[in-house]
Amino acid sequence: MLLIQCPYCGPRPELEFAYAGQAHVARPADPSATTPDQWTEFLYLRNNTRGIHAERWRHVRGCARFFNALRDTTTDHFLATYRAGEPMPVLPMGQKP
């Protein structure tokens, strides 16, 4: 079984986790000054990355916390996991999402 590194609990089996979409999608800070196009982008438009993707995961059948991960969508390899609110880690080979 694929193991995912929970930033709180350590390596745990994949089936305890739930995927929660692209990471680092920030809600517009000033809603009343946000145009419909900007709302559309925030609500609906997501990357469709072939390669390294920054995404949210939740250890729902564990500590239940959300966290972020860098995963290669072509290999399903998790390059890094980090707590929500922490900056995206720099990868050793300099790869970027």
Partner: protein
């Protein structure tokens, strides 16, 4: 996992390895570090700050479920006194304290086969190195979400939401039956 060779060598628990659900006082506490420290004083037991570890003192236990979430266990009938003591201790701290005594049931599994029985449907390795005495965590057993705690080497306690309890117990019995074949 239950392969044929293992079935033959492990032998089977025929004795009472399954402890029927016992009523208990249960709370879920959510709060920041300061609130958890205060709650520990009110509960009479410092709450565990290490991930996936339980703290016990006499017949009370606190189980780490998440970085800001603890499951507090005490004997049946102590809900009111604990609630009052925690309310006093937690005054001025943002927190949430929920009585979940009747939401879930506790199932005890003990004996030399306990680890093996649970591993049949739990994705975590339960050997002593991977899941030492004092470890606790939310995880899955079959299709049910459970809190699994190992208070002693050959003793496990499952905290299961009430409506899943029959499923979990029947699944355990089925593992036992299948392995006996």
């Amino acid at each position: 996992m239950a392969d044929a060779a293992l079935r033959r060598t492990v032998g089977l628990p025929t004795a009472a390895w399954l402890e029927s659900p016992v009523p208990a006082s249960r709370f879920i506490l959510r709060g920041a570090a300061a609130a958890r420290a205060a709650a520990g004083q009110g509960f009479g037991l410092p709450l565990p700050e290490t991930a996936c570890r339980a703290a016990t003192d006499g017949n009370r236990a606190a189980l780490w479920l998440g970085p800001d979430e603890q499951l507090l266990l005490a004997p049946d009938g102590e809900v009111d006194s604990i609630e009052a003591a925690l309310a006093r201790a937690l005054q001025g701290h943002a927190h949430s304290l929920v009585d979940v005594s009747h939401r879930q049931v506790g199932i005890g599994i003990h004996g030399p086969h306990a680890e093996w029985l649970l591993e049949a449907q739990c994705p975590l390795p339960l050997n002593l190195r991977a899941f030492p005495v004092g470890m606790c965590t939310r995880t899955v057993f079959g299709k049910a979400e459970v809190v699994l705690w190992r208070p002693a080497e050959q003793v496990f306690r499952l905290e299961v939401w009430r409506s899943f309890a029959t499923y979990v117990v029947e699944l355990l019995r089925e593992i036992e039956r299948e392995s006996a074949a």
